[in-house]
Amino acid sequence: MEEGFIDYQKVLNNEEHAIKSTQSVIQKAVDWFRSKSMFVLAYGTGCGAIEMPPTFTSRYDIERIGVVGVATPRQADILIVSGYCSYKTLKRVIRSYEQMNEPKYVIALGSCTINGGMYWDSYNTIKKLEDYIPVDMYVNGCMPRPESLIEGFVKLQSNIKDAKREAGYIKYRENNLFYKDNQKKIFGDNIEPTYEANFAGMNI
């Protein structure tokens, strides 16, 4: 095998990723199609953004596993938060996330999103991304190479396909108060109005 590539087919065909859950046949088909067509909003929050161009272009060419970049959050299924998030950035990340249509997933890239990384004692950088928006897949490393990112995608695809874990957007919908409270803790009252549609009480 050529240097730098992981054997992603092996990961895909692994026994442990076989469909075992209690999805209906139609749901299984829908999830399978969904896992093969991921539209990514690559939000370059930090230094991790530098690993994205090689991942999406000819050297690693992630399009071969069905991952394509898009320009706006409204067309995207997946948000990549690539690296450290300052308060200012986080506000934009949340806004982008809320504009995305469901089903939507978040991949957090790098140690900084996991525990603050080298910015663990920074006054302006958040320490755990999952406190503010739900994260479906963490890819650790400082910085993770494109191979790691690809592996993260493959793992996320298998999670979507097999409906193994509760998707983040469902958590965000059901535990919205938890996330909003955490967001409020750092933004105070300057929080942006939510984009989540609230149809209850609306006269349509």
Partner: protein
């Protein structure tokens, strides 16, 4: 050009094509005006600031560069930490706008005449400007963030590096002694 300036100011040659002038706050505007208009130091490349809390002053360095980019001139001045006010340089160097805005945010220095001194990199910041030395970063972080479990056994990086270096040195000395 340095020669003509040295007739008026005491210029220190720092080597590596870098020169330095120390001035008072009173003659600041006059000096910068003079240098900006009558010499070839036409670019303001940086305004650097350091906080000397023991002496209760900020030391600012205005770094100017020539049109040929072959010489740098540092203009150093001290201002009081308590009343940190300076006139803006926007009328001579328009690029000072961002630098002054940054200094205002990080050190709380007021630049009179600059109308853009609002939020820059930090949004909705209500604490002491974070690069002032009285701002306790660690206390702020402990108060505002919850850490993920698993960092408790973290070692002090500096102490650990020192220990490892000392160990490596000992090993090396032992090997050499054996030879």
């Amino acid at each position: 050009m340095i020669d003509s300036l040295s007739k008026q100011y005491e210029i220190e040659d720092k080597g590596n094509r870098l020169f330095k002038i120390r001035i008072n706050q009173n003659e600041f505007l006059r000096t910068i005006n003079f240098i900006g208009s009558s010499s070839n130091f036409i670019t303001l490349s940086q305004i650097a600031c350091s906080d000397w809390i023991e002496d209760e002053v900020f030391i600012l360095n205005y770094i100017l560069t020539t049109d040929r980019r072959d010489k740098n001139l540092m203009i150093e001045l001290e201002i009081s930490r308590e009343q940190s006010k300076l006139p803006t340089l926007l009328h001579i160097f328009p690029q000072a706008e961002v630098m002054e805005r940054d200094l205002h945010e990080m050190y709380g220095i007021d630049f009179i005449g600059n109308l853009t001194l609002y939020d820059f990199a930090l949004e909705d910041w209500n604490e002491i400007p974070p690069l002032r030395r009285e701002f306790d970063t660690l206390a702020y972080v402990n108060e505002h963030f919850e850490f993920r479990a698993g960092r408790e056994d973290n070692k002090d990086v500096k102490a650990e590096t020192k220990r490892r270096r000392a160990e490596a040195k000992k090993l090396k000395a032992k090997k050499e002694a054996k030879k």
